[in-house]
Amino acid sequence: MQQGELIPAGVFCEYHHAELSFIRGLHDSGLIGLTMQDGAVYLPSGELPELEKFIRLHYELSINPEGIEAIAHLLGRVNVLQEENRSLRNKLLRYESGQGPVEPGVEL
């Protein structure tokens, strides 16, 4: 879970016109982290970008929490594959000129 400044969940919900139950549901699914202090629910600021994305998916695209969970998983896979793709593209440059046998060097 990403940490950072804590934001009262109530304030966040009011700003985004979101229900606290929706945010709790995301937490129960393991998609975001929440912090409890003195009986109040807080959101670590580091969670906000992801949470705002989930709110858009739910309230603007009418995707239910189960769908969001699946999408979050798939987006994670997309990110990994995009990283891998980038890394492989860069690696391709290396193989364009070929590479000889590798022997450990000895630093003097």
Binding site: R56, L61, Q82, S87, R94, G105, V106
Partner: protein
């Protein structure tokens, strides 16, 4: 500036009902929403178009004007009066539960930006019918930054000018070619107090004649004279970022041999003190302009080799 066929964008005909418009928009938005298409500029552009189409066709007043004057957009001045009386949606963003669909703006990406055609026909995006109480996130900006390999080797500050604004950023050592970093809130300002968009910077590393990078590892070629290759000895290798390292060359080293120098490669992104490895490929250079004496000695060597 060309006419934009909003019906075509949503795959509808002109007799489409509001329910059909909502359904078509919903379907396309789910396909092209920026949150569902990370780093896909084409999807972002498409989403912007369908968002704009929905903005017009889902609003009875705008749709009427569009149907009446759309293809003759040059007469948009006639709507000036109407622009000063924003109609349509008011209040907070509606929820599907109480609105039966979505008729609010999106915040996931470039959806808040409108075409010149739209601006001409309906005025600015904040004055053409958008509720003054609805908050919209600002547009995301994309920028590309070219770096040399040496630039990317060290953490350094840099000032970028994006849309007339100077933004000072610190580029961490070890950024990769094609890597994108997000600067939250450095995109276009939000509308009606909405949050600013983000700035996405794509790093483009220019190829280097001397060094080739593979992830955190570096590769370089080093010429080696014949005598050191045959008899062994020491050579000096330059290191990216400054400094030199001495290497021991084993006797009878072959052309194309690669030596690995652990921890002398490229810095690992956001891991202070961690480096990849440096691979040095030896390219043996044969002597030229031999003297008679040298040639004679080579012939002796040749004769010896043939005897064995």
């Amino acid at each position: 500036m060309d006419f934009i066929d909003y019906y075509k964008i949503l795959g509808l005909n002109k007799t489409a009902t509001q329910d059909e418009i909502k359904a078509a928009y919903r379907k396309l938005a789910r396909k092209h929403h920026p949150d569902l298409n990370p780093n896909d500029k084409e999807a972002n552009k498409k989403f912007q178009q369908i968002n704009e189409a929905n903005e017009v066709l889902s609003d009875a007043e705008k749709r009427k004007k569009y149907d009446q004057y759309g293809k003759d957009w040059q007469h948009a001045e006639a709507f000036e009066k109407a622009q000063q009386q924003p109609g349509g949606r008011r209040g907070q963003r509606k929820r599907p539960a109480d609105a039966g669909g979505f008729d609010g703006g999106f915040g996931g990406g470039d959806g808040g930006e409108f075409s010149d055609f739209f601006e001409s026909l309906f005025g600015g995006s904040s004055g053409g019918g958008r509720s003054s109480q609805t908050k919209f996130r600002g547009q995301d900006y994309q920028a590309e930054l070219q770096l040399s390999l040496e630039d990317a080797y060290t953490t350094h500050p840099q000032v970028l000018t994006v849309n007339g604004r100077n933004i000072r950023i610190t580029i961490p050592a070890g950024v990769e070619n094609g890597q994108v970093i997000k600067l939250k809130g450095h995109g276009a300002p939000g509308v009606n107090g909405g949050p600013g968009g983000d700035l996405f910077i794509t790093f483009s590393l220019t190829p280097d004649a001397r060094w080739r990078r593979d992830g955190n590892d570096l590769h370089t070629k080093l010429p080696l004279d014949l005598y050191t290759a045959v008899l062994g000895g020491e050579i000096t290798v330059d290191v990216l970022g400054g400094g030199k390292i001495k290497l021991k060359v084993k006797p009878e080293t072959q052309n194309g041999t690669t030596m690995r120098l652990k921890g002398k490669g490229f810095p690992v992104y956001k891991k202070d003190g961690e480096f990849g490895d440096l691979y040095v490929t030896l390219e043996i250079r044969l002597p030229v302009n031999l003297t008679e004496k040298e040639k004679e000695l080579f012939r002796e060597l040749e004769a010896l080799a043939k005897k064995e």
